[in-house]
């Protein structure tokens, strides 16, 4: 793998680290499997790209893209909480609707940002760093700052209440926690992070495309699972940062698999590789525990 493609992989892994944190919030914290992210990733990208082409300030465009994605999360939460639609189904409905909405937002299947200013433009040539490194540093700062903020949030009274809602609704309610409010907030935050990742992706890669969000949920879950099987910790900071590390490792593994000539994978094999990687990450901790139990039994004998 060349240095250039390594840096590209790192960049992608860090951006999807934000997706992983969003997925962690819904799947693990709220126990609300949310597939909206496939649509909200694209929505964040589409809104931001369209606004930038219209001449809106890049930071404002990114903010609006993020907020739009957060609203998508609110729609899913509303369908589930107000009408009792199963969470998985509610999120699939929103995701499906978003496909059309994204096309409407862009007015065409994709928007190019090649000649437009992006969120990276103000940092170009800073400290005389080559573009390649500057981009990685920029997205790393975004992902880590985002992660630290989420970890801090989860340790506050409000964040703890959100974790209680995901763990035991009845207990949460008996302790005066308004369950619905926490679910709304959690889904908005999760999808906002995913939308921010989409907005960053569009600006670092120079385009937004109506199909770019397909499979976002699987990639996010893969990152969460890889991260958590490597770092077993109860510290919120470690858990959230392990999502980012998991995302980078996932990208590196995929990139290695695709680049290893002797295996003979091509780019179209990506989905199989992803599935195998996630399966391995799920199987590994279980096998490790079984092996440890066997060792212990042998030592006793």
């Amino acid at each position: 793998m060349s240095l250039f493609s390594f840096m590209g992989t790192l960049e992608l892994g860090l951006i999807y680290g934000l997706v992983a944190i969003g997925v962690y919030l819904t799947f693990r914290i709220l126990d609300f499997p949310d597939l909206t992210v496939d649509g909200s990733f694209t929505l964040g990208a589409a809104v931001t790209a369209t606004l930038i082409v219209m001449g809106v300030n890049v930071f404002l465009a990114t903010l609006i893209g993020t907020l739009a994605a957060a609203c998508a999360g609110l729609v899913t939460a509303w369908l589930n909480l107000r009408f009792n639609i199963l969470h998985l189904l509610a999120s699939i409905l929103t995701m499906t609707a978003l496909y059309t909405i994204n096309l409407r937002v862009m007015g065409k299947p994709n928007v190019a940002l090649i000649m437009e200013p992006t969120i990276l433009t103000p940092f170009e040539g800073l400290f005389g760093l080559p573009d390649m490194y500057m981009r990685v540093i920029f997205v790393a700062v975004c992902a880590v700052v985002g992660g630290l903020l989420v970890a801090w949030f989860l340790r506050t009274q409000y964040g703890l209440a959100m974790r209680a809602v995901g763990s035991n609704k009845r207990m949460a309610q008996a302790n005066g926690i308004v369950v619905k409010q926490k679910v709304y907030a959690g889904l908005a935050l999760s999808n906002g992070l995913v939308g921010l990742a989409g907005a960053l992706f569009a600006q670092t890669n120079g385009f937004a495309d109506s199909t770019m969000g397909i499979g976002t949920i699987v990639v996010g879950l893969a990152a969460v699972i890889i991260g958590q099987s490597l770092f077993a910790s109860r510290s919120m900071y470690v858990i959230v940062l392990s999502c980012i590390v998991g995302s980078v490792l996932y990208r590196l593994a995929v990139s290695l698999a695709l680049n290893a000539d002797f295996i003979g994978f091509s780019a179209s094999d990506l989905n199989l590789i992803t599935a195998v990687l996630v399966a391995l990450a799920l199987i590994f901790p279980k096998l490790r525990n079984e092996w440890k139990a066997k060792q212990a039994a042998r030592n006793e004998a």
């Binding site: 009274q157 964040g159 703890l160 209440a161 763990s167 035991n168 949460a172 926690i177 308004v178 926490k182």
Partner: protein, 267 residues
């Protein structure tokens, strides 16, 4: 003080599966009174408690705390007044969170969720001090995951949690039923301590006639959503478990034939 006026609760109203769970309950519990609630399965004991807590909406009638009408208030709006301990030891705590995090949730009961740190050293000291009352060594396990504790330990922590914030009403729904006799006795002991200490108004649902007579100052029995008798004072003091059973059989015989509920209600 809790008052229920003409309280009715109907489940699945208007559907073929309609069930009249509470059929007109008038009950006034003065401040500081400890009422034990007995009755067979399906009599409406838990429904009554859950309706007072706000988990279940009443279909008719009023609920008042003092002179404040709380009939329309959802469960979360009543938590400043009410503390609860459930029958299922797993229901009162979050297994995924640590002991101190669970206690912090209860410590913040009735407050708005704020963006300040959920835990601090002042709280930890309070939690440690409270946990040491149990003599279970839990004061050294603040950072243990709740899910790793035994059912009895979890129920003990739930009980302490219910008393972390000042409240006036304590609702106990068969909170010792799932425990072994020794742990149940310990829990009942701490319950009595807390009730005396904080001068709480208490409703305790129990299936044990013995427990119902030994604790509190008043006993009510529910049957098919109605209060069939209400014992207190010197009359109650002379009662034994067998008298209670007789009374129950009589009350039931007035309306219908006796069935096997006697078995369920044995001491």
């Amino acid at each position: 003080m809790i008052s229920c006026e003409g309280l009715h609760v109907t489940f699945n109203r208007g559907l073929p599966t309609e069930k009249l769970a509470i059929r007109g309950i008038d009950l006034t519990i003065p401040m500081g009174e400890f009422v034990t609630v007995i009755g067979s399965n399906g009599a409406g004991k838990s429904t009554l408690l859950n309706t007072i807590a706000g988990d279940i909406k009443s279909t008719k009638g009023k609920i008042l705390f003092g002179d404040r009408d709380v009939t329309k208030l959802p469960a979360t709006g009543r938590t400043a007044d009410i503390a609860r301990v459930f029958q299922d030891p797993l229901a009162g705590t979050c297994g995924d969170l640590t002991v101190e995090e669970n206690m912090a949730l209860a410590y913040g009961r009735g407050q708005r969720g704020r963006l300040s740190s959920a835990l601090n050293s002042k709280m930890r000291n309070i939690f440690r001090e409270q946990l040491s009352r149990l003599n279970l060594g839990l004061e050294n396990r603040l950072e243990s995951q709740m899910g790793l504790l035994s059912g009895g330990q979890r129920q003990s922590v739930s009980l302490l949690m219910s008393a972390l914030q000042p409240s006036s009403i304590l609702l106990l729904d068969e909170h010792t039923a799932a425990l072994d006799p020794k742990t149940a006795a310990l829990i009942m002991d701490i319950t009595s301590q807390i009730i005396t200490e904080k001068q709480l108004t208490v409703m305790m649902v129990t299936h044990s006639m013995r427990q119902a007579l030994d604790h509190g100052s008043r006993t009510i029995m529910l049957h098919e959503g109605k209060i069939i008798f209400d014992l207190s004072g010197t009359e109650r003091a002379g009662y034994e478990v067998k008298d209670l059973l007789n009374l129950f059989a009589q009350a039931k015989n007035d309306g219908e034939e006796l069935d096997d509920d006697k078995l369920l209600l044995g001491a």
